[in-house]
Subunit: 395 residues, 2 copies
């Protein structure tokens, strides 16, 4: 039986090496007043920004430019919006990692409002965004957050009272996502690894989510297939292999689509407070917790007996997939669950994903993190003790 | 390697038994001026239209109503548009089979123009529609065309100079699709069978299409899984089983999504001229040709040697799926291709899909049909002789 589900719109997707070239044909359709949002330095260092500007000049496209360093804070977004609010912008283009594509998304949404983004953040402000925005094209340069396909922009304030919260509305899904694996070639191995683990976490959490539907299952499974076949390669000797990068970009894109429709689990429920309290890359948080949280979920599903059977089967299907199998026999479900944990542990090791301790997180911080953690759509309920144990294992 | 692809937006989807109730919350968001497009009689006979009107009245929603009998012609669309062009409609809701949901789509698009739809039909008119339209919600009552997720509306003129041609634009994809299997319960077995075969044809043609991508593959496979498990049931003793109807509706929805993005093959390339020249339900044309066309495609792929290997493998995967398998061993590819043909022949027989001859199509008509047929994105090139043979076998 197919449970009831809703599925939000997805962006118009252009996927493939060299597809960025199509951007220059799209921009003029929105007039000649476009704002580019890019990151701190990597796009420029890779030489890609030079190519983009010369293409814009060739097409006589006038553009403005803002740079975002690190994860966007409310202040950064408010300042950019204040500067461009009366400039009659017709199009926003965000090119960069998840922080940049999220910032572009937030800017496109806040240009239609005259107050601070803080007022609209979930759990922080009291207003609900109405979804009105400037047309937005997202172009990822990492294969991580899948922000190019999601309806939320994550905004962070780091510190003791820090938070990572979302501006969210179905209509904030980018109008277009251009996924060009050539833009990812220059992404360094450690960033590729953390981003890849983030995307895979999103795919797996959505696949086993309590809100999963056959349509998100089909997409998540396809994304995990391509990512699992390429993650170790793309983060090492295959860094400049455009096919490996393409497979990772595809998985990341699909992770955004499925998380927007099936939700996430405890790993992302922990990533919010951890990322708010500590300066630690989001992908590292997800990657470091992935195997351990999966293990705890599987242990609890096992204890549930009949009720946990479907959840175990879904974990087993991914365990099988990760070893190149497509079918799980009824008597091998637990075997494949353990396979899944093993492969994830192996990736964590192989991709050199840091432990939490490296970013200054200590045992004394755990309770505060657990207090602020959300379960989201985790397949099982977890008590504070279980959540605490996940963190302690990865300190 | 993932080939370059583009993927158009999909509607906001609400899926599940009883989901129609959410329509009444959406309408007021677009103001109180809505046009309902419904079919000739079945929605009224089933009692569903009565329920809808009483819900509309309870919510004090004012609405206008038009009925469409059979497949919409240019004249029918032009007349409705002329009547409502200056009525300041804010929302169109189409509830019915594929003809009705296509008519609603065409009306929503033509209300922004002041001339005939004929001018914008592919292969008929010279103008290109710009995608401007009135907000459109599609609500299917059959599981067939997947029109609720496609970017085209098929418009027909039947007769010696007849045609079946599309008004097409990415932006014509409905803004929302409400898929409520309860609305399909009253659909009679013969209609359910023809519609089901149409949807399955769309899924299979998109899966083996030359334009297929991993994302359309994942969705098509998922759709075929649910349809194949339910098609015989939903068209017989399970007609009132809301789960079986839900599975069919899910497959049909996905067939629309994948055909819009991966295209179709020779069966739909033949359905256009056949439907233009003869009064024959579209689903019957697809259903009656499905097994035979698949057989011919497989035969030609076999002759292609290495080049045909991937195509054969994809057919084999579906052959395996239809017998409950998920994996095809390299030495069993041809076996599973034959399985696919056998199962499709069995469905055609079991579902009592008519032959073409029943609708007055004779051997003398074949050449004219073949002359007007298009290959679309068929996995192999077919010469006129091969196409002719497909038709002759199903006269």
């Amino acid at each position: 039986m197919i449970p009831p589900f809703s599925f939000a719109r997805i962006p118009h997707i252009l996927f493939g090496a060299g597809k960025l070239i199509e951007l220059y044909d799209f921009i003029p359709k929105f007039g000649n007043n476009v704002l580019f949002v890019i990151g701190g330095s990597s796009l420029k260092q890779s030489g890609n920004w030079n190519k983009i500007t010369s293409n814009l000049e060739n097409k006589s496209i006038n553009f403005s430019l803002v740079s975002i360093s690190g994860e966007p804070s409310p202040t950064v977004i408010d300042e950019i919006v204040a500067k461009f609010r009366n400039k009659n912008l017709k199009l926003i283009v965000g090119i960069g990692g998840g922080s940049v594509t999220d910032a572009g998304k937030a800017i496109s949404a806040m240009l239609t409002k005259d107050d601070s983004i803080k007022n609209y953040l979930e759990g922080i402000g009291t207003k609900i965004h109405d979804g009105k925005k400037i047309h937005y094209i997202a172009i990822p340069t990492t294969s991580g957050t899948g922000s190019e396909a999601t309806k939320n922009a994550v905004i962070s304030e780091i510190g003791p009272d820090g938070f990572k919260k979302s501006l969210r509305h179905d209509n904030l899904i980018p109008n277009m996502a251009i996924i060009d694996p050539e833009l990812m070639i220059s992404c360094p191995p450690s960033v590729s690894a953390a981003c890849g683990m983030d995307a895979f976490t999103q795919l797996l959490e959505a696949y086993v989510s309590s809100k999963a539907s056959p349509i998100t299952d089909a997409l998540a499974y396809s994304g995990m297939k391509f990512m699992s076949e390429n993650i170790l390669l793309a983060c090492s000797t295959g860094a400049s292999d455009v096919n490996a990068r393409g497979a990772m970009a595809y998985g990341s894109l699909l992770s955004g689509i499925v998380l927007a429709n099936a939700g996430l689990g405890i790993i992302h429920g922990l990533a919010s407070p951890i990322g708010g309290f500590f300066k630690i890359p989001h992908g590292v948080v997800c990657g470091t917790l992935l195997a351990e949280a999966t293990k705890v979920n599987i242990e609890i599903l096992q204890k549930q007996g009949l009720e946990g059977k479907l959840g175990l089967k879904k974990h087993a299907q991914i365990g099988a997939l990760l070893t190149g199998e497509h079918h799980v026999e009824a008597n091998k479900i637990l075997d494949y669950c353990y396979t899944l944990i093993e492969v994830l542990e192996n990736w964590t090791e192989n991709l050199k994903i840091d432990r939490l301790g490296k970013y200054g997180i200590e045992e004394k911080d755990i309770d505060k993190i657990v207090e602020s953690a959300g379960l989201k759509n985790n397949p099982v309920k977890l008590n504070k003790e279980s959540i605490k144990n996940i963190l302690l294992k990865r300190l």
